[in-house]
Amino acid sequence: MEEKNTKAKKKPSKKNEFDFCKVCRFHHDHGPRHKYFPRHKELLSAFLNRFRSKIADVRFFLKNPSFLRPQEESQNRVWCVFCDEDIVELGSSFACSKAINHFASSEHHKNIKQFLWKHGPSMDCVDDFKISDADVAKWVRKCTALGNKDASSCTGQLSRTSSDIHNKFEFERTEKETHFFNPNYLNDVKPLLYNTNEYQISHSGVTHYGSHLNVDASQLPPGVIGMTSNSSSHSGDSSGNVHSGAPPPWLTPNDGNIFNQSEITRVQEKIPVKTTSKLNPHRVGAAWAERRKIEMEMEKRGEAVNSNTDADWLPNFGRVWQSGTRKDSRKEFEKEKRKLVVAAESISMESQERKLVKTESVSMESEEPVQIQPYVSKRAVCFAFTILN
C-alpha cells in the first residue's frame, strides 16, 4: 500500500518545451520556475533599471514639455521592451509626445503585466513603467499653454533656421533650454539637450566652416558645460583646409621632415621582420620554422641568405636499427657513408688498375710477348738509391 502511495506521489517529471527568455537572452527548458532562478532575478533587475532610466527621460519631458524640431525627430526614439516596438516621434510637435501617449495606453499596461507575470517574481513595480492619465492631462495642458505662448515666436525661429542654422539658432535654443534646467531635477537623469557632435562643431574655434563660426567660450551661456576653444593658433594658418582643397600636411614636401621615404625604407630593412604567429611555440621544430620563415622573406626581398643546405645535408631522422639520439643516428650514418665512399673508392681504384693492367697486357700481346716483371714499389727504389749514394 505504501509503495502504491509513493508511486502515486511521484509524478513523472514533465519535460518542458524550450522557451526563449528575453531577460537572460537564452533558450531554456526550465518552464515557469525559470523566473525564480537567482541569475534570472539579477538580470531582470538590471533589465528593468535600464528601462526605468529611459522612462525617467520621458517623464522629464512630461513635466517640462518642449518643442520638437523636425531634424531631431528621427533621433528622439524609444524602444519599449514590454511591447517590443520602437516609438519614433515622426510628425509630433512636442518632444516624446508619442512615447508619453504610448506609456499611458492600456495596451502598454497590459503588456507590462504580462511581462512581469512571465518574467518577474512580483507585480508591485508596474506603476514605475506606466504614465497615469492624470499626468498626461497635465502635460497636454502645458503643451497647449506653451503652444499659445510661442505661436508668434515660432514663426520667427523657423525663418531664422533657413538662414543661419549653425550659429544663431543654436544660441537661442540653448538659451531657452537653460530655463528648464531646474535644480529640483538634479537627481533625475537629464536627456541630452543637444547632440554632442553638433555642439562641438558649432562652439569650437578649431574647425572652419566659414568665418562666422569662430566663437569664443566667453559667449557661451552659463548653464552650458564650459568648453575651451582654441581659435587663436589655428585661425592664423593660411595654408588652406579640407574645403579649400589643400593637400594634407603629412603629404606636403618638407625639407625639415625627419621621416623621409628613403630613411623609412632603410630603417625598415634594418629591423628584422618578426613573423608573429599564433601557433604553439612548443610545437615540433618551432624555432627552425621561425628561422626558415625569416630566411624565406629575406630571399623574397632578394637578399643573400647563408644557406645551410649543402649537398650532404640530411634531416633529423630517427633510424630503425640505431639507439640513442637522432643526432647520433645521423653521425653514425655519415660515418657509414664515409666508409662506404672510401671502400667504393678503393674498389674503383683497384678495378681501374686491373683495367689498366688488362689493357696493357692486351696491347702488349698484340705487339710483343709480355715481359713479366716483379713489382717494385717506389719506396724500395728510393731506399736502394739512398743506400747506393
Binding site: 610545437r283 626558415r292 634531416p315 631522422f317
Partner: protein
C-alpha cells in the same frame, strides 16, 4: 573527381628543398616505384586525399629507382616498398602503429579516411610537441610485415 598530380622527386636536392620549404605542415614522402601494384594503390589514395589534407599536409612521391635518392633510401632504412615517411618542420615524425618499425608507414592504406586520420594525428601530435604519435587505426587495417636486419 579531381585528380591532383603529386610531385615526383628524383633528386636529393628536390627532397631537401621540399623538406626545407614545408613549414608548419606535415610532409608526407612516399618512397616506391610506379611498377609496384601496392604502390599504385597507395598513390591513388594519396592523390585523392591530397586536397583534403592540403591545409595541414603536403604529399610528395619519391622514385626509389633514381640513383640520387639512394642516400635517403639508406638513411631512412627503407627496405620494403612502398614506405611513407612523415616530417614536420624538417623533423622526422614517428608513428607507433604496433609494428616493428615506428619510423615509417610500410604498405598501403585501406581507404582514404585512414590516411587522413593518420596525417591528422601526426599533425596534432606535432603541434603539441610530440615526436612520436599513436596510430588511430585498428590493427586489422595496418599492413603486417617482417623486418629483417641485414637480411637475417
Amino acid at each position: 573527381m579531381e585528380s591532383v598530380l603529386l610531385p615526383t622527386l628524383t633528386k636529393k636536392e628536390e627532397i631537401d628543398r621540399i623538406i626545407n620549404n614545408t613549414i608548419d605542415k606535415v610532409l608526407v614522402l612516399r618512397f616506391g616505384r610506379i611498377s609496384d601494384e601496392n604502390c599504385l594503390l597507395l598513390d591513388d589514395i594519396l592523390e585523392k586525399s591530397a586536397r583534403d589534407v592540403s591545409k595541414f599536409a603536403t604529399v610528395a612521391l619519391v622514385d626509389v629507382d633514381s640513383d640520387q635518392v639512394q642516400v635517403y633510401v639508406n638513411y631512412f632504412d627503407i627496405t620494403l616498398f612502398p614506405s611513407t615517411v612523415f616530417f614536420f618542420n624538417a623533423h622526422h615524425m614517428k608513428l607507433d602503429s604496433g609494428t616493428a618499425d615506428h619510423t615509417k608507414w610500410v604498405g598501403k592504406f585501406h581507404e582514404k579516411q585512414d590516411f587522413i586520420d593518420v596525417v591528422e594525428v601526426i599533425f596534432r601530435g606535432a603541434m603539441k610537441g610530440k615526436l612520436i604519435v599513436h596510430c588511430p587505426l585498428p590493427p586489422e587495417r595496418i599492413p603486417k610485415y617482417q623486418l629483417l636486419y641485414k637480411d637475417v
